[in-house]
Amino acid sequence: MTQSTQKSSSLSTRHLTGIKELTPADIELILTTAAQFKEVINRSIKKVPSLRDITIANAFFENSTRTRLSFELAEKRLSADTLSFTASSSSVKKGETLSDTINNILAMKVDMVVMRHSSPGAPHFLAKTTKAQIINAGDGTHEHPTQALLDAFSIQEKLGEVGGKKVAIIGDILHSRVALSNIFCLQKLGAEVMVCGPSTLIPRHIDKLGVKVGHNVKEALEWADVANVLRIQLERQQIQYFPSLREYSLYFGINDKLLQSLDKEVVIMHPGPINRGVELDSDVADGKHSIILDQVENGVAVRMAVLYLLAERGQ
């Protein structure tokens, strides 16, 4: 193999703090690389040795099942050394500051930090103040970049491409980091985005981001090629934004009857965890239009791609 004929490209950033900081070329590169890793994780031997000299800390200051497992699996498939850390069982409880915690982890010669935190901007702060390469696995109600990337990857896999497609994000937009990252990611790839939900759960001025705003689920579904349904995040709601879950479900829940009443097919996505019977009925979540479990599988491939490409920038 001659060296100059190999395609060369790398990310424009050392950190993945948010989709906002990525260029469309970065996103394309991540999705292309993820497709190669998806082939790898479907082999009988699923491991590659790429990151064998890298140590990654998973610092989860907020609860997570799917994202943490997905990152851990991605790291192990790439042969990285990993250490996991949850806030409830650590010195954070004793009053240690965020940068002290991360600097202590770094002092043990860790290369990358995958972090989730309840404060928006925590990863951006650490990217500026510490030497670690930071990967944001969700910061409060701000961004969740890897979720947006795996959503884009899943749409691309299902519909061929993201550009030109219409995606409706339905549900609790106000408290959702998935919504914001998805809006940035889909727009950078050339898709049209609509947000739909009760007015109390849609942030004011969100139309300034160039998204359509709707309050009727049926109209949104008629417009869309893809519906990304979000969970009602009761744990983040300090006040009551709608009268009752039953009422929310009646007006904004998606059931099979509603899908049947459309004269077209809409791909159903959900970042999980699903509140069955609230935003999605079981027959829709498990139905033939749902790609919810594909999203989970693609999550590992996309996170492998992100870790692999960032590791290359960290030399």
Partner: protein, 200 residues
């Protein structure tokens, strides 16, 4: 009249001028290449007969064109269908994070397992030997072959960084590190097949 005049070049003219700018030597042209490919196929048939237990694996990205030509010729000579897979070893390379220009991964398409088969790995140029080392690792995910052979079109002598040699060699060249071998296939959009040794 302006002192400055512009000449509009077509892509091929521009490419030609660019090629003239660097010192170059033709290693194989289209006719010679076809003879070499036929000879390589005959050597393969000598050892593998009807290819019932042998599979070809192209090393991505540059081994693809050569392997397709070889598979085509072998199918013609033997009258059998030849199993051909494409293997990408990017994630198995030992120079990850150690090179200036990162490599983008290519698709691996292995429609068969190599367990119990004889395998011929195919690449265009054998240089440091590191691609082959990575490929042998990458191949482990698809089983344990009974025998592995290595076919290259151009063997660059005295440049190895790992003690490996090819089983079948199209052409050997003496070259130094500042030179490079450029393999051009019609399938890539070139006018004819040519292999060049270029000085930078």
């Amino acid at each position: 009249m302006s002192f400055y005049t512009f000449t509009a070049y077509t892509f091929t003219e521009y490419k030609k001028l660019q090629m003239e700018a660097v010192k170059q030597r033709l290693i194989l042209n289209e006719g010679a290449l076809d003879v070499t490919l036929s000879r390589l196929c005959m050597q393969l048939i000598e050892n593998h007969g009807s290819f019932s237990e042998t599979a070809l694996i192209a090393l991505q990205p540059r081994g693809k064109w050569l392997a397709q030509r070889i598979a085509e010729k072998l199918a013609k000579f033997t009258g059998n269908t030849i199993e051909l897979g494409y293997l990408d070893a990017t994630f198995f390379r030992d120079d990850f994070r150690r090179r200036d220009n990162p490599i983008t991964a290519n698709a691996t398409e292995m429609p068969f397992l190599v367990e119990g088969k004889k395998v011929v790995l195919i690449d265009d140029v054998l240089y440091t030997g590191r691609s082959l080392r990575a490929s042998l690792d990458a191949m482990q995910a698809f089983g344990r072959p009974t025998k592995v052979e290595y076919l290259v079109l151009v063997d660059r002598k005295y440049t190895r960084e790992i003690p490996v040699e090819a089983t079948y060699i199209g052409s050997s060249v003496n070259s130094i590190k500042t030179e490079r071998v450029s393999v051009e296939w019609k399938e890539q959009g070139y006018e004819s097949d040519n292999i060049w040794l270029l000085s930078k």
